[in-house]
Each structure stands twice: as C-alpha cells, then as structure tokens.
Amino acid sequence: MVSGLSLRDMFLEGVRPIEKLLRYVEIEDDRAIIDASELKHKEVNDLLRYVALKHVTKVDLVNVVGQRYIGTRLHIPNPSPKLEIHIQGTPGNDLGAFLDRHRIIVHGNAQDGVGNTMDDGEIVVYGRAGDVVAMSMRGGKIFIRDNVGYRTAIHMKEYVGKIPILVVGGTAQDFFGEYMAGGRVILLGLNLKEGERHKAHYIGTGMHGGIIYLRGKVEDYQLGKEVGILKLEEEDWKFVERQVEQYCNYFGANKEKIMEGNFIKLVPVSRRPYGKIYAY
C-alpha cells in the first residue's frame, strides 16, 4: 500500500451521532428550529428526519451554507405528517432530491440540482437556482422567482394524472427542457428588458413529451429541432393563469401584467424523435 492513499470519506468524516446534534435543534410542539451553521451535510438530514419522526410539521432551518440533499431523507414509512422546511441561507446542491411529498421554501438562492428526480411535494425559491433544476422530476411543483441555469427540466416525466410543474420567473441558460418526456414548464422572462430575447439556446432539444410555455421573445434558432411552436388554446391559458397566480401569491408580482405578455407553447414535433435514425 502506498502511504497516504488511504481512503478518506470527505462526506461522512467527522459526522457526529444524533445525540450530539440535539443542541442544534429546538422543538416546540409541531414547530422546530435547526441551526445549520456548524452542521455537515448528513447531520442536517439526520436532524430533519429526527424532527419529522417527532411529528414536527414546520421547521426553520437557519444559517444554511451549502449543505446538500436537504429533504432527501424524508421518505418515512408509516406516513409521518408532511414537513414544511423554511431555509435561511444558501442550500447546497441537490436540494430536495428524490423529494417525497414535503415542502421546501428557500429564502435566498439555490444551487445546482434543485428537485433532482423529485417525486412529490413543493419547492419554492425566493431567488435564483443553478443548473439542472427539476432534472427527471416526476411530480410536485417547483417555483423559482428569478433565473435558472443550464439544462433546466431535463428529462422531466409524467404519467397520466401525475404531472410535475415548474415555473421560472426569470430566464434560463442553454438546453432548457432538453430531453423533456413530460411535465409542464413555464418560463416567464420577467427580468428581460423590452424586446430582449431569452438567453437559452437549444431550447427543448430532444424533447419528446410535455409542454413548455414561454413568455417573451425567442428566435427560431434558439429552439431545438425537435420542438414545434403552437398558439395557446383556452385550456392552456387557464392552466398558465393558475400557475402565474400562484407565482404572484408567492413572490408578489402583477398577474394581469404578466398575462398580457406574449406567450408561445412549445411541444415536441414527435414522440419518437429518433425513430428514423436507425437501420433495422
């Protein structure tokens, strides 16, 4: 063995047992406060799971600095009540990954991987979010007040009645809606200037399911070749209005003004975009 190569677990190293963490949490009836400032990634979820099992329904998670997977370990058999997690600070990557029914509200920015393979529940971000937001999302809702990064809503899915929804208030970077297989995505472009086009290129490239509603200007060459542009039907307008209303409730924007904007509907040209590239 070569010295110094021994394995160090950067993730679990120094993680303390739950007994030692209890001083960071205060529980009062069904409310709790957790101070995350000195907690490692796993310790945050240890405490969240702990309070969930104590039937807490609302928890304030304060002084968060980059801890990952917040809310991921809350798939608890014998359903405990839904937990509402209010985050102060900046949560780390994979916020709400594999999320199961619970609600996460971030009072600030979020990083990469928000709602990764999320199954159900809701995530609300009072700020911006990084890359791969809502990747492979299967259900529930995500609201992002400002912008999102690359590859948002990549490979989002749906099945019959279970349809995930993502609403983004600002604009997005490239590969927005790439590989989308289902779900509804609304991109509002509220922070774009008059006549300014959305920033993303390759929008909906490889898309083969779901719908993107896009408000504001976008050039044809910004769209992937697998999407087609449609006008919104009455049902679409109703759906968009409902989501915009909720967006406004959260973030205090003007619904009427938003709805006056120019919306287009992007749908896949084919449900089998690559059916013809093979020789059988």
Binding site: M1, R68, A97, I154, R271, A279
Partner: protein, 533 residues
C-alpha cells in the same frame, strides 16, 4: 400438377420481392443476400403449420390450395424457433452458403452492412454482445488442482461454501469482550452489505428491453436461489415490489425511469449505471412501440413515447458529481443500502474504479467489451471498450495497491459463458459475476442478435403479447434455477479440486491461474504466470 406448382412458386417469388430485374428503377430494390437458408424435408413435413405460427418474421407460409409450405428466406433471422418446434424435425436452418468473392478485407458482413446503410441511411443496430474475434482471455487461462502436497476436497460430502457479501467492509472491527466471552459486542459501525448464496447475479435487463414474463422469471429465480437480479433502468413494476424487491438491485440510470423513493427503498441494493459494455459512452432509445401501457406506468413516461436514456447522467459530469449522486442515494435510502456504480470497461478503467471507490461506492460493477445489450449501434458494440478479463485484473490490482480493495466489492459482467469463466473471474479478483446472456439462453434465447426488433420469437425481448405468452415464468424460472444450481456445483467441484472449501479463499488468488498462449504484456496485465512457470 408439377407445372401448376412451378407456376405457383414463380408467383410466390414475385410476392416476396425476388423479381429478377426492373427496366428503369422505380423504387429501391434491396440488394441484400439472405442470412440464412431453410431446408425443409418435404418427406417429413406434415403441414402442421407450427413453423408458420412460431415465426414472428413471417418467414413460413402455407398454401392451402397446393397443400405446401413456402418460406421467404430473406426474412429469417436464424432464431431456430421453427426448427425446435417442428414436431417431425423437418427443418434445417443454417447460415446461407451464398458468398461474394472471398476477400479477407471485404467480408460478407461488411458488404451486407454497406448495402443496408445505402438502402436506409441509418445507424446499424444490433443486439447481444460483441461477436468479433477479439481474444477471449478466459480460454487462455487454466486452473490449478491439488496433487499430493495438499488434499483436494470432495464437495459432495464435505462443506463447500459459496456465500458472498457485497458491500464495503471496515478496515478493522472494534469489539467489546465481556468477562467470560459471553457478552461479545461489535462496537464499530458497519456498512450495509447484501448476502448472496452463490457468486452469480443476473445482469441488468430492464422491463421494456425484455418482457414482463422474462423479467419476472429472473426475479423468481434470484429469490429462490438466494441471489439477486438487476432491474436495469426501466423501473420495478409495483406488482413485483413486495415479492421480489429484496432480491433486486435497482438501477438509477441517465433516464431515471421509474425512480421513486419507494423503488429505492424496497431494493437490496441500488446501482448507478454509468455505462454498459456493449455501448460505452452512449445512451439508449427504447422505441415508442415497446412503451406499452404497463411499461409507461413503470417508467413514468407517456405511452408510445420513445424512452430516451441520455448518454451521460446529466447530474454527473465528473467524479465529484458521481460522489454527489452516490450520497444522494445513500440519503434517500437512509444509509441502509449498498450503492453500486456500474461502468463499461474502458482504457483507464483502473483509475476510474479507484475514483468510484473514493467517491463512496460500495460496489464497483464493470461491464466488458463482450457485454450484451438489447439494442446498440453495431459500430459501437464491436469497437469500443476493452476485454473484461484485463479490466478486472487491472482494477483489482489498482485497488489493492491503493489499500482500498476492501472498501468495495467488484462485480464483473460481459462475456461470462460458463462456471469456469466465473471461477477464473473470482481468481482474478471479482467478488461475484453478473450473467446476462447465459440467463437468456437458459430461457430460450439463441443469440440471433435481433433483440432490437422487438419480435423475439422466444418471448424474451419483446412486448408483443402474442409472443410474451410463450414464456411461462414458472417454467423459465425453473430453467434459471437449474442453471444456477449446475454452475454452483461445478464451481464447488473446481474449488474442491484446488483444496479450497470457501470461495473467499480463491478471491484474487491468481496463484491458481496460469496463462497459455499469452504474450508477456498480457501476462503482466493479468498478473498471472505462464503455464509451467
């Protein structure tokens, strides 16, 4: 009568497209030669029409007026279903003897591929594993046996243990021992491990790639024999979760099909699929016509939609991202399941495996150059990756050199054909092996390589209900259990011969291997001596 038959044959020919020539081409005529020739003994044929019903390609056809069977050879894929089911053995199906001018460079296969692409402009698909004559190292490794200096063991009457644990092991155990050794307690924190009764695990084959019945057969056999099956990336149908979840390795792949918190938590282990030996570096497309209602439900994509698996996992672009997903899955399963990472064997496999272990994986699964597939571009399958034997030897050596071999188990896949391959793999350092193709062959597969068409006559690689009914899980699982039992016996015999009565004593024990007909560099990579050395 003869004239009438002749006339009829002419007509048949025309119908099947064998028109001699056109005056001026109106539509593109296929220039392909048939791959198989069908020889039917008219004396034996009783016109029972079994062949016609069994062939999903429509090769055989009965003409009632003439009371004769006809066949369109260009449709035949050589699956042998008709030959097996013909009650009078009237059929012989064999490779078509027609040949272009022999040419060592421009083989028949290459010419046929060129014509196919000229006619379609497409990427040529294939199924199963690489069939090219790359060196098969298993066949250049021979095993040891005890003679005189230590006794061989008789496995029929003496204990012979194959039980294996997959997962991370701690460096040492801290044990609290009471006064009289009564109250012995383990103080160290243990990592989750999964126990298997034989070092043979069924490879990842998704529901979607294979039929529900085939999928269920694998699950049933794994459960009965005390080993594991792998769901592949198509999810685990709800109906199988309670019964077979604890025998399942559930995959999380780039498409994230059917990945929900329950799926992760019912399983024995979770596997992140990075790559596959048959198609390293590329994704996959399950064609929409295979996405039936039940598959749509399991995968959670609309019915009839292509199930696209992107080439990378889009939350993993580097090793620290992999680490992020490994811990995301540990979080999602409350640190109760070992997490495996499956990669294709590629050039820097040893370094990559080391990174995977350091990223927190409990199992490293490596799929070699000859690994199978339900569908892959032929050009990728036949040209990308390295042989599993070399990859395994390199990985095992590297992890030992770095002092981290006990931190993860090694599972290998791709090209295991019999129990000798299994035991050689274990001697090279594997903890256990994945078998895919052998399991399929046990269920009926004949490796016709047409898995991608979705018309598998054996009811394995298809979603057509008429075909899937051909596979009865009760019977197919019995065939699989028999295979596991037979191989396990053979492994015990070979172990006993070496004077070893527990599989762990052979693991990484390369002293029991010798190379035959290998070059110096190959022996070096494999870490074995030449025979006689």
């Amino acid at each position: 009568m003869h004239e009438k038959i002749f006339e009829k044959i002419e007509m048949e020919k025309n119908q099947t497209g064998n028109i001699e020539f056109f005056l001026g081409e109106k539509e593109m005529k296929s220039f392909m030669l048939p791959e198989f020739i069908i020889e039917r003994s008219d004396e034996r044929c009783i016109r029972c029409r079994v062949c016609e019903r069994q062939c999903p390609e429509g090769t055989h056809r009965y003409d009632g007026e003439l009371d004769m069977m006809f066949h369109a050879e260009e449709k035949c894929v050589g699956c042998q279903r008709c030959a097996v089911f013909c009650p009078t053995n009237a059929l012989i199906v064999r490779p078509h003897p027609s040949q272009y001018r022999p040419n060592a460079n421009w083989t028949r296969e290459k010419l046929q591929d060129l014509k196919k692409q000229a006619e379609t402009g497409g990427v040529i698909l294939t199924g199963s594993g690489n069939d090219k004559p790359y060196r098969i190292y298993w066949d250049h490794l021979v095993l040891n046996a005890s003679q005189v200096t230590n006794p061989s063991i008789d496995p029929l009457r003496e204990p012979m243990e194959l039980r294996t644990f997959l997962g991370r092991k701690p460096d040492s155990l801290e044990i609290k021992i009471g006064e009289d050794f009564e109250g012995v307690e383990i103080q160290s924190e243990l990592f989750p491990n999964v126990m298997i009764e034989t070092p043979i695990v069924f490879s990842a084959m998704s529901y979607g790639a294979i039929s529900y019945n085939a999928f269920k057969s694998l699950a049933m056999a794994a459960k009965e024999y005390g080993t594991l099956f792998n769901t592949g990336e198509g999810g685990l149908p709800i109906s199988l979760r309670d019964g077979y979840g604890s025998s399942a390795i559930v995959q999380v792949a780039s498409g994230r099909f059917g990945v929900d918190p329950d799926y992760l938590n019912v399983a024995a282990a979770v596997e992140i699929k990075i790559g596959q030996g048959a198609k390293p570096g590329i994704g996959g497309h399950l064609p929409g016509e295979k996405v039936t209602e039940k598959i749509s439900e399991t995968r959670m994509i609309p019915e009839g939609t292509d199930a696209l698996s992107p080439a990378p996992q889009h939350d993993i672009y580097s090793i620290e991202d992999l680490s992020m997903l490994i811990y995301a899955l540990k979080e999602a399963t409350n640190y109760e399941k070992p997490v495996s990472v499956k990669i294709a064997a590629v050039h820097n496999v040893a370094a990559i495996a080391s990174g995977i272990v350091r990223a927190g994986a409990d199992i490293v699964a490596i799929d070699g150059l000859r690994g199978g597939t339900g569908a892959a571009p032929k050009i990728i399958r036949d040209n990308v990756g390295i042989p599993i034997e070399l990859a395994l030897a390199a990985v095992d050596k590297r992890l030992r050199e770095e002092g981290i071999r006990n931190k993860a188990s090694i599972l290998i896949a791709g090209g295991i054909r019999n129990s000798a391959d299994v035991i050689k793999a274990i001697a090279l350092g594997a903890d256990a092996v994945y078998i895919g193709t052998p399991a399929l062959v046990a269920m009926g597969c004949t490796i016709c390589q047409k898995c991608y068409t979705g018309r598998c006559s054996w009811g394995i690689c298809t979603q057509d209900p008429y075909l899937t009914r051909r596979l009865n899980p009760e019977i197919a699982s019995k065939r699989l259990v028999n295979l596991l039992r037979g191989w396990s016996h053979e492994i015990k015999e070979m172990l006993g011969g070496m004077g070893i009565n527990a599989i762990e004593s052979l693991r990484g024990n390369r002293d029991h291997l010798r190379g035959v007909g290998l070059e110096e560099w190959e022996l070096n990579v494999l870490g074995v001596k030449g025979a006689g050395e």
